[in-house]
């Protein structure tokens, strides 16, 4: 499980946690997050997230 960070607002998507309130179940891999998904905090598109090493 990896985490990804929004390059604009530093929102973190954690694969382990998913985003249940956004309809993304815990354990959803980043590649399986829909391409049109956007950062819930600032609206950056999925393509503009970056992976963080943990």
């Amino acid at each position: 499980m990896k985490t990804y960070q929004c390059i604009v607002c530093s929102f973190i998507y954690d694969e382990a946690e998913g985003m249940p309130e956004d309809g993304i179940a815990p354990g959803t891999l980043w590649t399986d997050v829909p391409a049109d998904w956007m950062c819930p905090d600032c609206g950056v598109s999925k393509a503009d997230f970056e992976m963080i090493e943990i």
């Binding site: 604009v8 530093s10 309130e21 819930p40 905090d41 600032c42 609206g43 950056v44 503009d48």
Partner: protein, 404 residues
Amino acid sequence: MTDLVAPQTPAAEAETAAKADTAAAVVIIGSGLAGYTLAREFRKLDKLTPLTILSRDHGDFYSKPMLSNALASNKTAATLVMKPAEKMAAELNASVRGQVQVERIDTAEKRITLVGGEVVPYRDVVLALGADTLHIAMAGSGADAVLSVNDLDDYARFAQQLEGAKSVVILGAGLIGCEFANDLLHRGIRSTVVDLADRPLSRLLPAPASAFLREKLEAAGVQFRFNLAVHQVVKTPDGFDVELTDNSHLQADLVLSAIGLRPRTAIAEAAGLAVNRGVVVNRLLTTSSAHVHALGDCAEVAGHVLPYVMPLMQQARALAATLAGTSTAVVYPAMPVMVKTPACPTVVCAAAPHAVGTWRVNTIPDGCDARFEDAQGGLLGFALLGSATVQKQLLTAQVAGWLS
């Protein structure tokens, strides 16, 4: 006269082609979040049109919203840079020109003159100029040393002066003031925030929500002084003496001003473009002159000046499509603003200006749920604090956008 019909040498042909090329360029003035976001969105749609980004600083890419919570995330001015200008230029297939200042824009000739005299022709030019921090006139020997953090270079100065500092006075209890106050706690600095209003985020929150925020920030160590302004800032051997309008004094190692922003409009005004609070643009993000556009903190879009990330993203996507050949009006869905105060998680979704409604505030265990509703109970906006923030997605879906 024979020169006109003489066949061109290969070198001359190349030169002519290069000239035609630059005249077909999209030129973005500004390398902040607005400029680079537009460049990125444009390149997703158009990989070939020459693209130039003019920056008055280094042109490195960083995210301005992160400046007010950099301490919490252990970022320095250096690590806030996500990509240096050269890397941005390579990724965007763009020319990024750092340390250049625009002297004027000639909209009739479609060219920009830089300070120093260089002329940059354009097909379309985009003003992504940002905003200046507001300054209030203050008396005293320390008034000139009052800092504001509006860009990465400012942040570097701020961070440097923060070394060894134990106390900070912040002017302004708005978004940025509250965010910095919270962030400074990560350095063990209990700052004092001064505001003319009687509560924090007074323009965004109903009074009970402000009270909740105040209580949380105070519990975390922030101090507030409301209904007051600064009379003077005097330099002392140890730092600064800040005298307030009630004649009380605060001692501080550093004074930070965060009282608001004013869109940068001077270049637009000088070019004869319509300017109101910001550079006036329609929903296509086009100014009063065709081929001149504006977005981000400098722009007044269909009457709205919204210096937040979410509107900027919407603007960048619409303008990128327009510049790539598909005329696209910007759409504003409900755009909640996350306030970066971890001591009191807060999200505000402002109602459209002139929307008529009333606040209905529910204080819940460790939270505050405030909804701005019309006479029929329809949701026009909201503010959620503490434990109430879990309602964010649900409520956002119920609020009508400003521009649909």
